[in-house]
Symmetry: C2
Subunit: 653 residues, 2 copies
C-alpha cells in the first residue's frame, strides 16, 4: 500500500488514528517482550507479568508480644478465683516479640499478665531442685498475640498486576513475597538522527550559518521521562545516501527511528525521499500549527517519524506521534494531561483549517486562572521553557476571544502555578534578578513576568489578571509618576505603590557611537534607523514626549514602526545592526556592552493591589526587595540604578 | 546539649520543628555544594546557579523565507505603477530559509513577490552578456522576513533560575544558549544500614525466624524518586560494636545515615545506645501511629535517623523526617501531597494521644470519593501497596465517624483513582484474575476489591460506596440466589445481576485429611479447631445454615469466633495449623494444595447498578467476563468452577 503522498494536510485526529491503526495492523503496537531483572533495580519499570507471592509473609507463626507461648487448650478454666499454673519449659516457653512460635504452641500470654512461681520439687528449697511455673488468671484464645503465617501476604496472592509501573513500596512487597527477580517490559528504544548540513554539536566554535543541535536532547530526555531510552546518532548532513545509511544502521537497534528535520518539502529535505526509497510513507503533512510537515513512515517493519526542525514543532509532533507508541510498548495507557480551565487574557486570531497549539502562561489571580498567550513562533524554544501549558485552538476556529474560558493542557503542575506571582507590565532588568532571588530564597515560589508596558500592566491589574505591575508612567501635567494613572484606572481597587528603583533612560548606540548620535534630533537623519518600544510602554511614552518637544514627526523617524517588547530586545537590535539606536535603560546597554546617551532619570514602581499584597508569596517578595543585600548588590551591579527608595511605599489608597 | 531521653512521646509537629531547627542551627539544612556536569546528563537535576545565555539564538540574522535579500533603502518608491529593479548579485541575493543574511542586506522579499527580468547589456541578446534583475512592486520594510539575532534568546538573558529541577526542554534551551556544562546540586546521599540478627538477604534459603530484608530497598528507592541516591550497607546483626563501626564507616560517604530497626527500647535495640555513645540523641519517640519509636540524632555533624523495623512504620517515619532534608539539600521546597476530600465509609476508632496515619483505599463512585480504611497493622506492607492515600487522625481525636468527610493525602494519582472500579462484597479468587486481566487489556483501568461479604457489599451499593458487588446470598425460603436480597435492600436502585460463576464450597482440610474430617458434624470434636468467615459473608451464612440443619450450637465449635475475610485466609489458616478446617471454595484449596470436602454448589453473581453499568470502565469489564478466552481459561484453571452462565444477565429491574 505504498502511497505517493506529498505534504498533505490531514486533520490531527485522522492522522493519529491512521498512524496507530496502521502500526496496530502490522503488529507493531503490542507490549514489548519482557526481560528478567533484579527487583532491586526495578524502580519505575513496568511489570510484564502478574507478580504472585511465592511465600507467605510472615512464613512462620511468630509472637507479636514479649511473653510466654502456650497451648490454648492448657489454659481452659483459668480464672482469678482459680489461677492455673503451667510448667515453664514444658507447657510454657518464653518468647520475644518476633520470635518463631515453638512448634506445639498456639497462643502467647503477655508478660504483664503472668506471675512466675517456684514450686520446690521436694521440701528442699534449693533453687536447683525447684521447678518454675507461670501462673495465669484467664484462659487464652487460640492464636492470641501471634502473628500467624500469611498475616501480611498469603502465598499465591497477587502482589501487583501486569502492566504496573513499579513504585518503591512494590519493590519491598515483591522481595517480601519471595522474589528476587521479575519480568519487566524491555525499555522502548528510540533512535534519534539529527540531520542538516548547518547543524553542529554543542560546544563547537560557531560560525555564521551554524545551528546548535539540541532537539535530540529534548526528545531523548522526553523518552527517558516516559520510561524508555534513547540512542542519539551522530549528525547527518543533508545527503540522501548518508541519511539512508544512518536509518539502516540504527534499524536493528531500536523500536522507533526519529529523523529530525528535513521533513518538509524543500530542496534539501531528504526524509521523505529516504523513507520512500527504504520503505513507505504512511502520511506526510498534518494540519497542525506548529508542526505541519511531519512524516509518518515505516521501514522494514519499524516505525519512522520524520519531524520538523524548529524546536517547538519537534516537541509538539514528537509528543503527539511518539508518546502513544512508547506507552503501548510498555503495556501502559497514555496518561491524559492535567487540564485546567482558564480565562484567556487577550484575543487570539488563529488560522482556519489548522489546529493550533498555543503556548500559554497561566497564573492564579484571586480565584481565577488566567492564561496569557506567549510567543507563537515555532523557532522559539524559550516559549516552551516559559510555558505552563497549551491551549488547542481547533482547526475550525478562527481564534479565541479575550475573556473566553479555555481548556489548558498543563505542562507545569497546578501547585507551581498557584505559587507563581504574575507580574504584567513594564520591563526592567531588576525584575529578572528578583525572579531568580525569589526562587533561590523560596524555592516554592516563582515570579513570572509578561512585558506589555506600564499601561498594559495597569489594565491587567484592573481586569484581575495580574498580582503586580511594574510601571514608570510620567504624568506630563503634574510631573508625577504612576499615581495619577492608578487613581484614574484603578479607582475601584485599594492599590499600594512600592518603589523598586530610579533608573536612567537613554539612547543605546553601538560601542564608540559610530554614527555620532547625540540625541533625538539625529533620528530624522537618512542614515539612522531607530527601534521603538510597543504602544503603552512607559519608554514609548517617553520617546513620544521627547519627539513632540523637538517637533519631530513619527513618519520622519525610520524604524519608528518596528516595536520591541523589552529593553534587552532593543539593545539586541542595536548590537546586531537591526537598528542604529533605540531608547532603553542603562542596564540593558551595560549587559550588551553598548554606549549610552542619557535622556532622563525616571521612577520605576511596583503597583500591588492590597488583596495580593497581604499574601505570603508577595510578602516574601517585598521582604527581598526591602532587606536582601545580595539582591540590592546585584541591582546596583547592573548599572544606572538609584535604590535610595527601594521598597518604600510611594502611595497607598 | 546532650540530653538523656528515652522513648518520649513528642507530638509530631514539635518533633519535626525540633529536628529541622536543630539541623538548621548546625548549618546542616543548606543546599549542598554544586558540581559541574554535562547538560546532556542533567535531566531531573537541580540548578545550583541561574543559567544565563552566553550567546543569542539565532546568533546571526537569517532569512525566514525563500527569496531575495535586499537593502530596504533600495526598495523605496517601488509600486505597481512604477516597479523597481534591483540587480541580482549586487542589490539582491538569493537566500533559502535559514540562510544567514549576506552582510549589507536587511530585508528579504519572498520569492512569490518578485519577477526575474533579464536586461541585455548591449543589444546582443546572448545570455552571457545579459544581467539579471529582480523586479518588485512594493517597498520592503526594515528586517522584514528576517529572523533577527536574539529572536529566541538574547545573550545575558535568564534561561532558567537557580533551584529549578531540569526538564527536557530546559536541556535544549541551555544548549541553545551556548552552554555545554552547568552547575547542579550534588545529589543528596543517604546511607541505609539494615540491622537485626534475624534479618537475611532476599534470596537466602529461609529458615524459621528469618526475616527478609526489604525496607532498605523501599527507602532507597524513595530517595531516588526525591532526586537523591542511596548506599545500602550490609546487614548488621544486633551488636552494639558492629553497629557503631558501621555508622562510622558510612559517616564520610553520605549526608544522612539511616539505621533501620533497633530504634525501640527492647533489650536488642542498639540504635539509641550507639547514637548516644557516638554523638547525641535529639529526640527519641514521637506520638504517631505507626512509627512511634523513631530516633532523631546527630553524629559528628551528620544527621542520623533511627527508624522502626515494621515496614509501614519505616515508610511513614522516613517520609516525615528524611524528606524535608533531601529536598532542602537540593535547594527545593517539599511539595505538598495532593489532597482529596473523601467520605469515610465506616467508623474508625483511634487511640487518643497519638496521631494516626490511616491507610485508605479511595474510589470515585458517582460524584463522591469514598475512603475505605485498610489493614492498620504496622507490619502489613501490602497495606501500602494497596493504599491510595493516608488519612491523618489527629492525636486529640478518638476517631472518625462513618460518613464523615476526611482529607486524604494521596499516594496514587487522582486520575488512577477515578479509573478504578470499586468492588465491595464477597470474595472470589476469580475477582483477582479479573483485576489482572482488566489491567492487562486496559492499562488505564483498575479493579479494587474489598472483602466485606455479600451482605456488606449490597449495603455498600445502597450507600453509593461501590460500583459492583460480588454476591452469593441464598434465600432459604425461596431457594433463590441474590435476587430477593437485592429487591429488599436496593429497592430504590435499578440494578443488574450478572453471573460470574457457579462454584463449589466445601470444608478445607490438610492434604491427606489427617484428622479424618467428614463434614460439619466433626466440628464439635475436641481435637478439631474451626476457622470461620466474618458475619455477613455468604460463606458464613452457609456455615450457619449447615450447623443449624445439624442442630449444632456455635459454642460447641472451637474457633467459631475466629473470623477471616477471604477464602485464601481461611485456606492459609488450615495450611499453617491455625485451624484444622474451615468452609471455602475449591479454588482456595487448590491454590494451597489442601484437600476439599464438598458441601454445596452455589451461584456467584455481580450486582451492578445500572448507572455504573453504562460506564466505559464497567462495559470493558463486562466485555472481558463475556468474551475474553484467556480469562475463562484461567478461571477454569482455578478449579471447581462452572462458567456456563458467565456474563449472563440473571436479573434486571
Amino acid at each position: 500500500m505504498l502511497r505517493d503522498i506529498y505534504l498533505e494536510s490531514t486533520p490531527l485526529r485522522e492522522a493519529l488514528s491512521e498512524w496507530t491503526e496502521r502500526l496496530n495492523s502490522e503488529g507493531l503496537l503490542r507490549p514489548l517482550p519482557s526481560e528478567t531483572i533484579k527487583i532491586i533495580d526495578s524502580l519505575r519499570r513496568v511489570t510484564a507479568e502478574a507478580i504472585i507471592a511465592k511465600i507467605s509473609s510472615p512464613f512462620y507463626h511468630s509472637s507479636a508480644m514479649d511473653g510466654y507461648a502456650v497451648r490454648f487448650v492448657d489454659t481452659f478454666g483459668a480464672s482469678e478465683r482459680s489461677p492455673k499454673r503451667l510448667k515453664i519449659g514444658e507447657q510454657a516457653v518464653y518468647v520475644d516479640t518476633g520470635d518463631p512460635m515453638p512448634d506445639v504452641f498456639n497462643a502467647v500470654i503477655m508478660i504483664e499478665d503472668i506471675n512466675i512461681v517456684k514450686c520446690p520439687l521436694t521440701n528442699d528449697l534449693s533453687a536447683n531442685s525447684s521447678e518454675e511455673y507461670i501462673e495465669i488468671i484467664s484462659p487464652a484464645t487460640p492464636w492470641q498475640n501471634v502473628r500467624v503465617i500469611g498475616e501480611d501476604i498469603v502465598a499465591t496472592e497477587l502482589i501487583i498486576p501486569e502492566n504496573q509501573r513499579i513504585r518503591p513500596v512494590d519493590t519491598g512487597a515483591m522481595l517480601a513475597s519471595g522474589h528476587t527477580e521479575i519480568k519487566v517490559r524491555r525499555k522502548p528504544k528510540v533512535a534519534i538522527i539529527p540531520t542538516g548540513t548547518e547543524i553542529v554539536e554543542p560546544g563547537t566554535e560557531l560560525k555564521k550559518g551554524d545551528i546548535i543541535e539540541y532537539n535530540s536532547r529534548i526528545l531523548g530526555n522526553i523518552v527517558s521521562e516516559w520510561g524508555g531510552e534513547y540512542i542519539r546518532y551522530r549528525i547527518i548532513p543533508d545527503n540522501l545516501k548518508e541519511l539512508k545509511t544512518a536509518i539502516l544502521d540504527v534499524h536493528g537497534k531500536c523500536d522507533l527511528i526519529v529523523v529530525n528535520a528535513g521533513a518538509s518539502a524543500g530542496s534539501e529535505d531528504f526524509s521523505a525521499k529516504a523513507l520512500k526509497e527504504l520503505g513507505e510513507i504512511i502520511l506526510h503533512g498534518v494540519s497542525i500549527k506548529p508542526g505541519k510537515p511531519v512524516i509518518l513512515g515505516l521501514v522494514k517493519g519499524k516505525p519512522v517519524l520524520g519531524i520538523p526542525g524548529y524546536p517547538v514543532s519537534a516537541f509538539i509532533t514528537f509528543n503527539l506521534f511518539a508518546r502513544p507508541l512508547i506507552y503501548k510498548w510498555q503495556g501502559l495507557d497514555v496518561r491524559e494531561p492535567e487540564m485546567l480551565k482558564a480565562k484567556v487574557s487577550r484575543q487570539i486570531a488563529s488560522t482556519l483549517g489548522q489546529e493550533e497549539f498555543l503556548r500559554v502562561k497561566v497564573g492564579k489571580v484571586g480565584d481565577n486562572f488566567i492564561a496569557t498567550p506567549i510567543s507563537r513562533g515555532a523557532g522559539i524554544i524559550m516559549s516552551l521553557v516559559r510555558a505552563d501549558g497549551f491551549v488547542r485552538i481547533p482547526a475550525m476556529s478562527e481564534g479565541i476571544g479575550a475573556g473566553t474560558e479555555a481548556d489548558v493542557e498543563l505542562i507545569r503542575s497546578k501547585d507551581d502555578i498557584e505559587n507563581t506571582i504574575v507580574c504584567i507590565g513594564s520591563h526592567d532588568n531588576a525584575l529578572d534578578l528578583l525572579a531568580n532571588i525569589l526562587k533561590k530564597r523560596y524555592p516554592k515560589y516563582s515570579l513570572s513576568s509578561a512585558h506589555v508596558g506600564s499601561m498594559g500592566g495597569l489594565i491587567a491589574l484592573k481586569r484581575n489578571e495580574a498580582h503586580i505591575t511594574g510601571t514608570h508612567l510620567l504624568d506630563e501635567e503634574t510631573g508625577e509618576y504612576n499615581v495619577p494613572f492608578i487613581k484614574r484606572l484603578l479607582s475601584d481597587k485599594k492599590v499600594l505603590l512600592i518603589n523598586l528603583v530610579y533608573r536612567q533612560q537613554g539612547l543605546l548606540v553601538l560601542k564608540g557611537n559610530p554614527k555620532k548620535i547625540k540625541g533625538f534630533e539625529d533620528l530624522t537623519r537618512q542614515d539612522v534607523v531607530f527601534v521603538n518600544r510597543q504602544a503603552g510602554a512607559g519608554t514609548r511614552l517617553l520617546t513620544d514626549k521627547c519627539l513632540r518637544e523637538l517637533g519631530i514627526l513619527e513618519k520622519d523617524v525610520k524604524g519608528y514602526e518596528r516595536e520591541e517588547y523589552t529593553h534587552m530586545a532593543v539593545a539586541s537590535a542595536v548590537l546586531t545592526g537591526v537598528a542604529d539606536t533605540g531608547l532603553g535603560i542603562l542596564a540593558a546597554a551595560r549587559a550588551l556592552d553598548l554606549d549610552f546617551i542619557p535622556v532622563a532619570k525616571e521612577r520605576y514602581d511596583l503597583a500591588i493591589p492590597y488583596e495580593f499584597f497581604k499574601t505570603d508569596m508577595i510578602q516574601n517578595l517585598i521582604g527581598i526587595i526591602r532587606e536582601d543585600e545580595e539582591f540590592k548588590r546585584m541591582v546596583l551591579g547592573l548599572g544606572g540604578y538609584d535604590i535610595s527608595d527601594i521598597g518604600k511605599i510611594m502611595y497607598e489608597d
